[in-house]
């Protein structure tokens, strides 16, 4: 049960995980249109990408939607986490349970339930419906992230602030907020990524007035191969790597 085999297995799985990404990166610079033949290095797919107005429009739409959904989810989620952490109230277990259930529910179930709600209240499908839906699937992740951070927070600090004359709201703002900032950042980033990645929910609650990136890519790659998607994928990868690195940097700074 020891020796080389475990390491070989690790290597095999990492190979499986990274070969498709390597193909994506490499092909984004391939001058040939399709196929495995290498046509030389070229930036033509990046040019094709930036010239594709509908694709670029959907990218900006998605970035705006993801930022809005993540920001709202972080604000509401943090407040919910705080309520769960600080107060003892009837139905607290139920609230925990509901959060867990939303997090575990298949996306498609969530999508259908929200579509039913939007149709019932007569909400036109578009930016607002997308925002509400994305907010919903981001929220539990933010709540859990912030709750985990709160569990390590020494509540006596809040009591001390109250004893020194701060109001509850002021104590929260000046003592608690800085302590949970890393969790807020992590929650925001997670929400942003989830929103940018979502296909299933947007398929159901999106409308023609606000096309998001995943749906645009979806309709592009359903039939045939579109090399500019490689260029887009590469840019998105670089973008998320930078965001991750930045958040790590901020978190480390917070610690020291």
């Amino acid at each position: 049960m020891s020796g080389r085999l475990p390491r070989l297995w690790l290597a095999l799985v990492y190979l499986l995980l990274y070969v498709p990404i390597a193909v994506l990166l490499l092909y984004s610079f391939n001058d040939a249109r399709t196929g495995y033949r290498w046509g030389g290095w070229s930036l033509r797919w990046y040019r094709a990408l930036f010239a594709n107005d509908t694709l670029m429009d959907s990218l900006w739409n998605s970035l705006a939607l993801a930022a809005a959904a993540a920001t709202l989810a972080t604000a509401i989620g943090a407040l919910t986490a705080f309520a769960l952490h600080r107060y003892r109230f009837r139905g607290r277990e139920l609230m925990h349970g509901l959060l867990f259930v939303v997090m575990m529910s298949p996306e498609i179930v969530l999508a259908i339930s929200l579509l039913a709600l939007f149709l019932l209240v007569g909400l036109q499908l578009g930016f607002t419906s997308l925002l509400i839906a994305h907010l919903t699937f981001c929220l539990p992740f933010v709540v859990i992230t912030v709750l985990a951070r709160l569990a390590g927070f020494d509540a006596r600090l809040l009591e001390a602030a109250r004893d020194l004359g701060a109001s509850e709201a002021r104590a929260l703002y000046t003592v608690l907020l800085p302590a949970i900032l890393p969790a807020l950042l992590a929650g925001w980033l997670l929400g942003f990524t989830l929103s940018l990645d979502d296909v299933v929910v947007s398929t159901f609650v999106g409308g023609p007035s606000y096309e998001v990136l995943p749906l645009r890519i979806y309709s592009m790659v359903r039939v045939g191969l579109k090399p500019e998607v490689n260029a887009l994928g590469t840019l998105l990868l670089v973008f998320s790597l930078l965001a991750l690195a930045l958040s790590q940097l901020l978190l480390n700074k917070q610690k020291s």
């Binding site: 499986l16 994506l24 033949r37 107060y87 298949p106 398929t203 990136l213 490689n230």
Partner: protein
């Protein structure tokens, strides 16, 4: 989750009411009510203009058992189970090996495991499509090595869909498994061997029960999404491979048969509840076993 008992705030104040109101507000409006609506929709009749009409009926649930649909559901379930099994076979040894690696390297390796998750899953599905294409790099490599004479038809098959699903969902199987392997005390395995159990017996009677919560959590995180990720079946399976997700999507968005789509969705929710229950049971059994 470990709860730290806090001293309660000195008096019930406005802030408390506002925060509780906000929390319950969104949970009710965005989770509870919409799900009740779906439940109601599954019990109504179909209406061509208004989607739904009275009276109440169990017709949609009966139609789920129609041999034609049942067949598709079972095929889809088989596909999702194959995906889960694939993730388990790849992920179980992986998680074990990872938990044995020198501690200095583990954070980096875990980071590398989650990194693909931060890239768009649609783009990654497309990468797989490109890899498997008739004139793609995999066929190219096999041809160049002389292993095959003509390109293999890899794309638009069940295998392609399973591969895509495994690729997208593997980290969700590995992470819970890794968590249980990290907490596993190796002495328990040694004790089993010392007491005369063979490798297989130790694996079946000691290792599997100890890691069962991880296996079930991973299954939960892989099986349910695998049932619903219709875009993977669309892109990698063509029109030939259907998941429950494809059926639900068709019923809602194309056929406009809401009651039937809602009933299928309730079925998925029930499957989730069942898995959650099994997971809880396994964890409780393990905890009770550990107690003196």
């Amino acid at each position: 989750m470990a709860e730290v008992a806090l001293p309660p705030p000195r008096h019930r104040n406005l802030l408390r009411s506002a925060l509780l109101g906000l929390s319950w507000g969104w949970l009710l409006a965005l989770v509870l009510v919409p799900n009740l609506l779906v439940l109601a929709a599954s019990l109504l009749n179909r209406d061509p203009t208004h989607f739904l009409q009275l009276p109440l009926t169990l017709d949609s649930y009966r139609r789920l058992l129609d041999p034609l649909y049942l067949r598709v559901f079972l095929d889809s379930l088989a596909l999702a189970l194959a995906t889960t099994l694939g993730c388990l076979l790849l992920g179980y040894p992986f998680a074990w090996a990872l938990s044995r690696i020198d501690g200095r390297w583990r954070p980096l390796l875990v980071f590398l495991l989650i990194l693909p998750f931060w890239t768009n899953s649609l783009v990654r599905t497309y990468a797989i499509k490109q890899l498997l294409a008739a004139n793609g790099p995999l066929n190219g490599a096999l041809l160049a090595l002389g292993l095959i004479d003509a390109p293999l038809e890899l794309l638009y098959t069940q295998g392609a869909v399973i591969l895509g699903l495994v690729y997208l969902l593997l980290p969700f199987m590995i992470l819970p498994l890794y968590a249980v392997f990290e907490d596993l005390r190796p002495e328990l395995l040694l004790a089993s061997r010392d007491l005369g159990a063979g490798r297989l017996a130790t694996f079946v009677h000691v290792l599997i029960p100890l890691t069962l919560p991880g296996i079930l959590a991973g299954t939960l995180l892989v099986l349910l999404p695998a049932l619903g990720m219709f875009y993977v079946a669309d892109i990698l399976g063509g029109a030939r491979v259907l998941l429950v997700g494809n059926i639900i999507k068709n019923q809602f968005l194309d056929a406009r048969d809401w009651p039937f789509g809602a009933a299928a969705s309730i079925l998925l929710t029930a499957a989730m509840a069942l898995l959650l229950f099994a997971h809880r049971l396994a964890r409780r059994r393990l905890r009770d076993g550990e107690a003196p």
